[in-house]
Amino acid sequence: MEKYFDASYIWESIPLLIPFLKMTFMVAGLSVLFGTLLGFILTVAKTGKSKFARKLATGYTTIIRCTPSIVLLFLVYYGLPAIGDRFGLNLNNIDTAVFVIITFTLQFAAAMSEVMRSAFQSIDNGQFEAAVSVGLSNSQAYRRIVFPQAFVVALPNFGNSLLAVLQEGSLAYTIGLIDVVGKANLIIAGNYNAHALEIFLALAIIYWILSIAIEQFFLKLEQVFSKGKQGLKTA
């Protein structure tokens, strides 16, 4: 078996890989969705009155921050069925994607809770006070005045966290998910491990383009939403 570099393998594999982005997107998308919800709950705990809830949420975030994605992924993959076993549940036949989504939901929630907390706390308390002083209720003040401003502050970091989830998601192949990376490995195996480099380059190109597109999208979004925040001096 001879090893040599042949760029045509890059271009030929890209169309084979693209359809599997669907799985990549689905896993990342659902993780972002559930992670944002869980992250919101964590943020409420972190900014709330209960000291216990605050400690718990902060501790959770620290632990997740210190855990490599691949370790969390395998902990979930082996750990959940083991725990299920304890309660007489058979979780061994669950779709791999579920474990992946759980893993990255846990991770994204921790990241988002920090993003949302710092965005929320960056909004001057005077904004809330002015809102209630003109007769808005507390929840109206949050909904109409504080959150919209915090949202704009959070947007860039939300984008970064989303990119991170997309990239960390590339590890899902290790537990057998057939997303783009999984497919790439299948192609390589099909080639008897020849031309692996070209396939990996194809993968890199796909991820790179995706990341740039998402980054640009969030930059645009920021511009749209930051009206009034920074005097976008429309000359």
């Binding site: 090893k3 040599y4 570099f5 620290t62 632990i63 921050r65 210190c66 855990t67 490599p68 994605s69 691949i70 370790v71 969390l72 395998f74 902990l75 082996y78 750990g79 083991a82 076993d85 304890r86 990119l163 990239q167 960390e168 590339s170 590890l171 990376v181 692996a196 480099l197 990996f200 380059l201 993968l203 890199a204 991820y207 790179w208 383009i209 995706l210 990341s211 740039i212 980054e215």
Partner: protein
């Protein structure tokens, strides 16, 4: 039926995982030693818009930020041996590429990756140091180099420190991907131990604990250091 955790294995493997810490730290330190100065210099090329170099730095950062580390590892691990073996044949070096210690690949990948991360860290830190600081330094007769060494860099470092901490923790975590290069670090060591009796849950709990200890310790060390540095922070009026 469930048998619960194998506690003996849990304890034994914890120490096996722990024995992977030195190699993880070794790679981390080497990558940082390489990436800190290089990242700083390339950040300067970005800030001062040095032709060619600043474009290069921009594309480089974009690539590293835009692609998963595992794919960067795949690429290095499958391209460097190709290069080496053609070099070995060309110069008639009697060495097999498969004898190369994987730690060399790890040095390459993680230095490559961390440099790009630190370019961005330094770039944003440098741009927060007030332009007036440089002008003030020049006005009292410092050369540009002196101004940077004595005024700008100390301030930028304070701003950058939390992000350098994050980069370091991320680097340590990323070494867990060393398995893809057969690197004998924390994760692989514990996993191999688990292969015998399928004690994967225990093994990953151990790995998890070791990273938790390691990263918390690093974060704590950075906090202490930041406290000492904070006297350089710009005064708030």
């Amino acid at each position: 039926m469930s048998e619960g955790l194998n506690y003996k294995f849990l304890v034994d493997t914890f120490f096996i995982a722990l024995s992977g810490v030195p190699i993880t730290l070794f790679i981390t330190v080497v990558a940082l030693l390489f990436a800190l100065p290089l990242g700083f210099l390339l950040a300067l090329t970005r800030i001062n818009r040095i032709p060619v170099l600043h474009r290069f730095a921009q594309v480089y950062v974009s690539f590293v930020r835009g692609t998963p580390i595992i794919i960067q590892i795949f690429i290095v691990y499958s391209s460097v041996p190709l290069l080496l073996s053609s070099l070995f044949t060309k110069f008639n070096i009697g060495m097999n590429v498969y004898d190369v210690n994987p730690i060399w690949y790890a040095f390459i990948v993680f230095s490559f990756n961390t440099t790009a991360v630190l370019i961005e860290v330094f770039r944003s830190a440098l741009s927060t140091v007030n332009r007036g600081q440089l002008e003030a330094a020049q006005s009292v007769g410092l050369t540009d180099v002196q101004a940077y060494r004595r005024i700008i860099i100390p301030q930028a470092l304070v701003v950058a420190m939390p992000n350098i901490c994050t980069a370091t923790v991320n680097l340590i975590k990323a070494t867990s991907l060393g398995y893809a290069m057969s690197l004998q670090e924390i994760t692989l060591k514990a996993k191999v131990a688990a292969n015998v009796g399928y004690n994967y849950v225990e093994a990953y709990i151990d790995i998890f604990l070791v990273y938790l200890l390691l990263c918390s310790a690093v974060e704590y060390a950075f906090k202490l250091y930041e406290k000492r540095l904070s006297k350089y922070k710009p005064s708030v009026v």
